[in-house]
């Protein structure tokens, strides 16, 4: 696998690769061709500007304030660190259990509505965390939809319970994707059949074969869920802060935004570094653990998500022995109830709140109106909408250009390092990146869209790079070789064979970046100024003002926009299938 892991040994770009598809192959060593230096130069310049300089500024600022002072500042925010830890841990456990169970249902059984279940997980994936948080409030808080209909409410939703639940809901689609990929790529059904005909019953097979084989994937899913939770800003901002719970991310926001005293500023820097170091350490340790056990390439970023493992999976299934049917059907019902509880009911509640004439009215058409939508279509919101679309679009174009440069450069020497550096930027928490970018470019670019774009490019680069690199890995080397022996030189082969074949991946990568850019809030909330607020920022601000109806209306608009952008990805002949994000 040429996609390097974060902590793994440097992987040479031209090694023979035996992927699940078996079609990976040796990539010819890059011959010296004119113009080959260009992608490398672009890449190095971009990495320096987007990542290296901001990080240097961050650590420089930390050293300036002295390590002792830094330590004190961080220690004074101990409760926030602790809150981040336990809420993320709780969310991780829930997300792995739920995602794993549903993955097992969709990949190992013929549960009714399997396709729809997969789709539901992907829908959950595109709903941003803070929208989910707002939607849960509209659904389950006192005065919410369920309270109106059944008289049941969860007053503890604002507080630890809500934070953990919604963080888990936010992370579950990722754990689902990773574990489903594992079920498809790693544990072939033959291995389980072999256990059954060796005398193991279903449970023993699960214990001795299926789960041990899945362990790297479950571990990777858990690490991703934890990183996602610990770096999440929107969910604790909506459900934690009003209850007095601050996490590292919300504390950085508070220290940077609402406080003028120097100590807060130092604390924000310290917390930003703490967050980055903690996530990096976690990924490094997890990757190391996975590395030691594995006989095939895996690792958090190298394995499950690293290449087209999902694309190559064959559908298993066929007739299930009749003795399972009832249990499978029951499990399917439970899974659908869970999806309804986590995804469907909150989204319906969100829509109804957006339409409601006033809070507390029964959810019938008579009490509906479009006033909330009119109210949020004011000029400031329109401006934010424009900002978000502009930023997301620019990020999509920029990221795909950079990703193409990275993929081209990877064919040369040092290509493995490129992939490693890119994977590392994805692991960099948004809050940390925003603080670093602010320190590096704040003087020159304060309150401009450009400073937000810099952060977006740095953060989303890896997301765009991955499908492209996976696509390249999935491309049989014969195709390039056939072009070379037909008389094409390196760049011509790239232009006439490789890039045309990668076009779906370029489009898919661009759309994914666009989606992430549209609903981004963690970085833009720290970097925005007068006139440069994004949609996510406006939603959060409205929510904090208590304007539930308008918040919901804007959240609905935002979700529709994101859904629209993701439509080509979710379609039946979907791009996601072709780039290996799902089958």
């Amino acid at each position: 696998m040429t996609e390097p892991t974060i902590a793994g040994p440097p992987v040479l770009p031209d090694t023979t690769v035996e992927g699940p598809a078996g079609a990976r192959a040796t990539r010819p060593r890059g011959r010296r061709v004119p113009g080959a230096w260009l992608p490398v130069a672009v890449l190095l310049a971009a990495l320096t500007l987007l990542v290296v300089i901001p990080l240097l500024a961050l650590f420089g600022a930390a050293l300036e304030n002295g390590l002792g002072g830094m330590w004190e500042a961080v220690a004074s925010a101990w409760t926030s660190i602790w809150t981040s830890l336990w809420s993320s841990l709780g969310a991780t456990i829930l997300a792995v259990l739920a995602g794993g169970a549903i993955a097992f249902l969709t990949e190992r059984t013929d549960v009714p509505g399997r396709r729809a279940l997969r789709l539901a997980m992907l829908v959950a994936f595109i709903v941003p965390g803070y929208v989910a948080a707002v939607a849960w409030l509209d659904a389950y808080a006192p005065g919410g939809l369920v309270d109106d209909i059944l008289g049941i409410a969860a007053p503890a939703l604002v507080g630890p319970l809500g934070v953990i639940m919604v963080l888990a809901a936010e992370a579950a689609p990722i754990t689902y994707l990773v574990i489903a990929a594992g079920l498809v790529a790693r544990a072939e059904p033959d291995l389980e059949r072999a256990a059954r005909v060796s005398g193991a019953d279903a449970l023993t097979t699960l214990r001795t074969v299926t789960l041990p084989l899945l362990r790297p994937f479950v571990a990777a899913a858990a690490v991703l869920a934890f990183v996602l939770s610990v770096t999440s800003f929107g969910v604790p901002a909506v459900l934690g802060v009003p209850a007095g719970l601050t996490t590292i991310t919300t504390r950085i926001y508070r220290d940077l935004t609402f406080s003028a005293d120097p100590e807060s500023f130092v604390r924000a820097i310290g917390l930003a570094i703490t967050l980055a170091v903690a996530t990096a350490l976690l990924i490094w340790v997890a990757d190391g653990l996975l590395e030691r056990r594995r006989t095939e390439p895996s690792g958090v970023f190298g394995g499950p998500l690293g290449n087209g493992a999902m694309a190559s999976g064959r559908r298993v299934g066929g007739p299930v022995p009749s003795r399972f049917r009832n249990r499978v059907a029951l499990a399917g019902v439970v899974a659908w109830m869970g999806v309804g509880f986590v995804v469907v009911v909150p989204l319906v509640a969100l829509l109804l709140t957006a339409l409601a004439r006033a809070p507390g009215l029964p959810p019938v058409p008579a009490s509906w109106m479009l006033e909330n939508f009119r109210a949020v279509s004011g000029s400031s919101t329109l401006g934010a909408l424009g900002n978000s679309i502009l930023l997301a679009g620019a990020a999509a174009v920029g990221v795909m250009a950079l990703a193409a440069a990275a993929v081209s450069a990877r064919r040369g020497r040092g290509g493995g390092l490129v992939g490693g550096a890119l994977a590392a930027t994805f692991a960099l928490p948004g809050s940390t990146l925003a603080v670093a970018v602010l320190l590096a470019y704040g003087v020159a670019l304060r309150d401009t869209l450009l400073i937000i774009l810099v952060a977006y490019l740095a953060k989303l680069w890896a997301i765009g790079y991955r499908p492209l690199a996976a696509g390249l890995d999935g491309l049989a080397a014969d195709l390039s070789w056939a072009a070379r022996v037909s008389g094409a030189d390196g760049p011509t082969t790239m232009r006439t064979i490789v890039l045309p074949l990668l076009r779906p991946m370029v489009v898919a990568g661009g759309l994914i970046v666009f989606m992430f850019g549209l609903h981004e809030v963690t970085m833009s909330s720290l970097l925005y100024g007068p006139g440069t607020a994004t949609l996510g920022v406006v939603v959060l601000n409205l929510q904090q003002l208590g304007a539930a109806g308008q918040t919901a209306a804007l959240a609905v608009l935002l979700t529709l926009l994101v859904a629209l952008a993701s439509l080509p990805l979710l379609g039946r002949s979907g791009l996601l299938e072709r780039v290996g994000w799902r089958r």
């Binding site: 072939e188 033959d190 059949r193 059954r196 193991a200 279903a202 041990p212 007739p319 022995p321 003795r323």
Partner: protein
């Protein structure tokens, strides 16, 4: 679960299995006697794997019933789980667990059968030695070659001591030399164990070489079964003839002028009647009463194949040794034997 007492190791009647709308097995009947090796020969997609899965209990029956060693294990109402059926399986893609060493893999069925860890390891080591991979006991599948992996897979099946072995194209992914070696090994080991075996394959040479009896599978049905010699010499139709080896078909009147009939016929009276006959390439000899022109010559090492054009059609002839004629040469041939194709059923 040692070899069954005299009687059938397997009796399958009217087995129907579907994948959604497509039927993989269509009312299939099959018998395997105790200690017998049955080759199920069929092209890919004919239902070989489905048949083995149904016998093993890896999928359920829609209709019909399956008895193993005299005990009903599958019917639309009955579904004994795989771990309680007296079968062991060898998989086409080996099906070795990547997280277990060869030793642990072979010990696995022994542990499931209730053996202690030490006893299981001892026995597993013996079995690996017998399969001549004892020195690889500590390796994981990724560190083994294809042939070594399949030996481990075979040892795992032997460890189960079943009444019936199910072999799903066990040599399909091995190269020719290894294939032959493992075929001998398989046959020897199965017979030493005294258990019956079903050997699914698409390779006619393998089927004829390993089996006591061969069953031809087409579209989920057994269309012919018999000894290897029977299915080779007396196919029931064209499809079966071509599946079981190279065959030429000619419309002739063996008694008619210009055509010297077979000197040694294959039995029935109607063998002398005019009609459609099949000729295997080894049933022909160069030089004889039938005029022929050499159309094509293929040298195959141990023998040479000639395509010979006669008035009744083209015939494939095989003789030992190197080529004696070039294409275009005029020669003649003699037919030692012909098989009259049965009339197609309406």
């Amino acid at each position: 679960m040692t070899a069954a007492a005299p009687g059938a190791a397997l009796e399958a009647r009217g087995v129907v299995v579907s994948y959604g709308a497509t039927r993989a097995l269509e009312g299939l009947d099959l018998d395997v006697a105790a200690g017998e090796t049955l080759a199920v020969l069929g092209p890919s997609g004919s239902g070989k794997t489905t048949l083995l899965y149904a016998i093993a209990g890896l999928l359920g029956l829609e209709q019909g019933r399956i008895e193993l060693a005299g005990r009903l294990v599958a019917s639309p109402q009955v579904d004994v789980p795989p771990e309680r059926r007296p079968v062991a399986m060898v998989f086409q893609h080996y099906g070795l667990w990547p997280h277990l060493s060869a030793l642990d893999t072979v010990a696995y069925p022994l542990r499931r059968a209730g053996l202690g860890a030490d006893a299981a390891a001892r026995r597993a080591r013996e079995l690996l030695e017998q399969m001549r991979v004892g020195h690889l006991a500590d390796r994981r599948p990724a560190q083994l070659s294809g042939g070594e992996q399949q030996r481990v897979g075979l040892a795992r099946a032997l460890a189960r001591q079943p009444a019936l072995f199910l072999l799903d194209e066990p040599t399909a992914h091995l190269d020719t030399a290894l294939k032959t070696e493992l075929q001998w090994e398989l046959t020897a080991r199965m017979h030493a164990d005294g258990a019956a075996a079903i050997h699914a394959t698409h390779d006619v040479d393998e089927a004829l070489a390993v089996a006591d009896r061969v069953a031809l599978l087409r579209d989920g049905r057994i269309i012919q079964s018999g000894t290897p010699v029977e299915v080779y010499a007396q196919p029931v139709d064209d499809w079966a003839a071509v599946l079981t080896g190279p065959a030429s078909f000619v419309e002739v009147d063996p008694a008619g002028p210009g055509w010297a009939g077979p000197e040694r016929s294959s039995g029935a009276d109607r063998d002398a009647e005019p009609g459609r006959y099949m000729v295997r390439p080894d049933w022909l000899r160069i030089e004889g009463p039938v005029k022929a022109i050499v159309r094509d010559v293929r040298y195959r090492g141990s023998h040479t194949d000639y395509v010979l054009a006669t008035e009744q059609g083209e015939l494939l002839l095989r003789e030992p040794g190197e080529p004696r004629f070039a294409a275009g040469t005029a020669t003649s041939l003699r037919i030692d034997r012909m098989w009259r194709m049965p009339e197609p059923r309406p």
